[in-house]
Every structure is written in C-alpha cells, then in structure tokens.
C-alpha cells in the first residue's frame, strides 16, 4: 500500500471485524517535533497478549488467524522504516488501540494520501459504527463526529446523494483548512 490513508482503512477494517461500534481515528502532524502519529482506537472485542504478538509478527502468524490483521505487519514495518514505532494496546472485552509513529520528514515516509476518501468509505460503508475523526497539524485541528449527523438525519440513509455530498464536502473542507492554516511560516 502506497498511502498511509490506505493503511488506516485497513486497520479500521480490523476494528469493524472485531465488532466495534465506536471507532476513533486520529492523525496528528507535529511539525515542531517532526513527527506524524496515527491512532486508531476501537471498542471491539479486543485481543489477549498472545494474539497481539501473533498478528504483529508475520513470522509467527499461524494459519488460524485467517486474513484479519493481514496488513498489520506492513503498517508496523512502514513506521519502523521511518525512525518511528508501532504499538498495539489491547484488552479482551474492552477494545484495541493501534498507534503508528513516523518521523514526518523521513524520505521513506509514505504520503498520507486520500484521507477524506478513506473516511468517506468508512462512514458511508459502515453506518452502524459511530465514527470520530481528528486531524491535527500543530495547533490547528479538524474534528468530525458522525453522531450529530446521524441524529439529524434520523432515518435518511447516509448513501442518499445529497447526504453523501454533505459528508464529502465537510471532510474535504475541514482537512484542507487545517493544511492551509498550518502552511503559514509562523507555524513551522
């Protein structure tokens, strides 16, 4: 995968498979400390330490794990190749938090890619999940919580064309605004 946004999509798919109904995705670019941090936090069924170890290291993966978690070793390798690190904190019955940290300016760091596209896919394709998204560059932040949207819609599906347009434009405008504001030299 050539975009961090695709890795985010893949990890969030694991959260959905784990039965989560609340998933928070956070992307933070800290220009001062030259760090990029991605966090995906879910309230799914969680894993014990042994399972975490097994899905993190491809060389101990047994065939019984099937294809869930297939992308985790790649995401881990991507972070570690960029002077970063990767952690999975998980507790059976409580949920899982996946964190990947990259040196932001590292030559091998993949671009974030189409973040809005990833979020649109998740929000519209999995309406039963409560999605929370946070994107931050230094002190500029955009937050999207789909719960208020669903409360207002009350019964109108997310795949209604005008609702989709609303979600797409809200995500794109929000992400662009954070990027524009943080491009001012004072913020670097």
């Amino acid at each position: 995968m050539r975009e961090l946004a695709l890795h985010i999509l893949d990890i969030a798919e694991n959260s959905i498979s784990a039965g989560a109904d609340r998933i928070r995705i956070s992307v933070e670019e800290n220009l001062r400390e030259d760090r990029l941090t991605i966090t995906i936090e879910d309230n799914g069924k969680g894993m014990d330490a042994e399972t975490v170890a097994r899905i993190t290291d491809p060389f101990i993966t047994s065939r019984t794990t099937r294809s869930v978690g297939l992308g985790i070793p790649f995401f881990k390798a991507a972070a570690e190749a960029c002077e970063g690190y990767f952690t999975i904190q998980s507790q059976p019955g409580l949920g899982t938090t996946v964190t990947a940290v990259f040196k932001r300016s590292h030559i091998d760091r993949m671009p974030l890619g189409d973040l809005a596209g990833t979020l649109q896919t998740l929000i519209i394709g999995t309406p039963e999940v409560h999605w929370i998204f946070e994107y931050r560059i230094n002190d500029e932040e955009f937050q999207f919580d789909d719960q208020p949207v669903k409360v207002i819609l009350a019964g109108i599906p997310l795949s209604d064309p005008s609702v989709m347009r609303y979600i797409r434009e809200t995500l794109r405008t929000g992400i662009d605004k954070v990027r524009q504001k943080s491009l001012t030299p004072a913020n670097h």
């Binding site: 294809s67 869930v68 596209g117 394709g125 109108i156 795949s159 209604d160 405008t173």
Partner: protein, 122 residues
C-alpha cells in the same frame, strides 16, 4: 453551493430527502457491496467504492445502499463488487476498477441489466 456546510444545511437536506421519499413508492432498495479486506484495499477497492459513491452523487441516484464488507474470500478477484437488486439474486463482479464500477452502476444497478463480461462465479 457554499463550500462550508453546517448542521443546519443538513437539516434542509433531510427535509428534501423526506419529501422525495414520500413521493416515491416503496419499491425496495438496491444494495451494492464492496469487499474491503486487506487484499481488496491493496488491489484498489477504495477507488472502486469511491467511483460508486461518485456515480450516486453525480447522477442523483436514490434508494441505493452502499456497504463495505471484510474479506469476501475470492482474493484473486479483488476488488470485488456485489449487487443485489430488490427481489433478485446476488450478482458478483471481480477485478472491478473505477470505470467498471461506473458501468456496473449505470447498466446493472440503474438499468437492471447484468454486466456479463465482468461477472464471476460467487
């Protein structure tokens, strides 16, 4: 159309959508499912799904439910798209890129005619 949207805009969208819903007979909804497992994502499933969403938006297609699902179990045919029209059998398409997805939307989901050349056993 203003670029910054508020929740008030959303309330208006809902009212419009409700009006349209009331005018229409309940003819059932068509379902479009995209496989979004690791293999699917690596093969371009997000772009396939995005093309489906864009077609719905551009052509103002109503009464379509778009869903994503984990691994469908046909790895070598990813990205996979499945279409279920009301009262019809599920049709599975394989190696669907964005352009193919647009054609499936127009010919099958809207027009009711299966795109035979993309169809696989599923």
């Amino acid at each position: 159309m203003p670029t910054v949207k508020s929740l008030d805009d959303l309330k208006k969208i809902r009212e419009e959508a409700l009006k349209k819903q009331q005018m229409k007979e309940t003819s059932g909804k068509s379902e479009v499912i995209v496989g979004m497992g690791t293999v699917g994502i690596a093969a371009g499933a997000r772009e396939t799904l995005k093309a489906i969403l864009d077609t719905i938006e551009e052509d103002n297609l109503e009464n379509i439910i778009v869903r994503q699902t984990g691994n469908i179990g046909l790895d070598s045919f990813e990205p996979i798209v499945q279409v279920i029209l009301p009262g019809k059998e599920k049709v599975t398409y394989g190696k669907v890129n964005g352009d193919m997805a647009r054609k499936i939307m127009k010919q099958h989901v809207v027009g009711g005619e299966i795109v035979k050349e993309y169809q696989i056993e599923g």
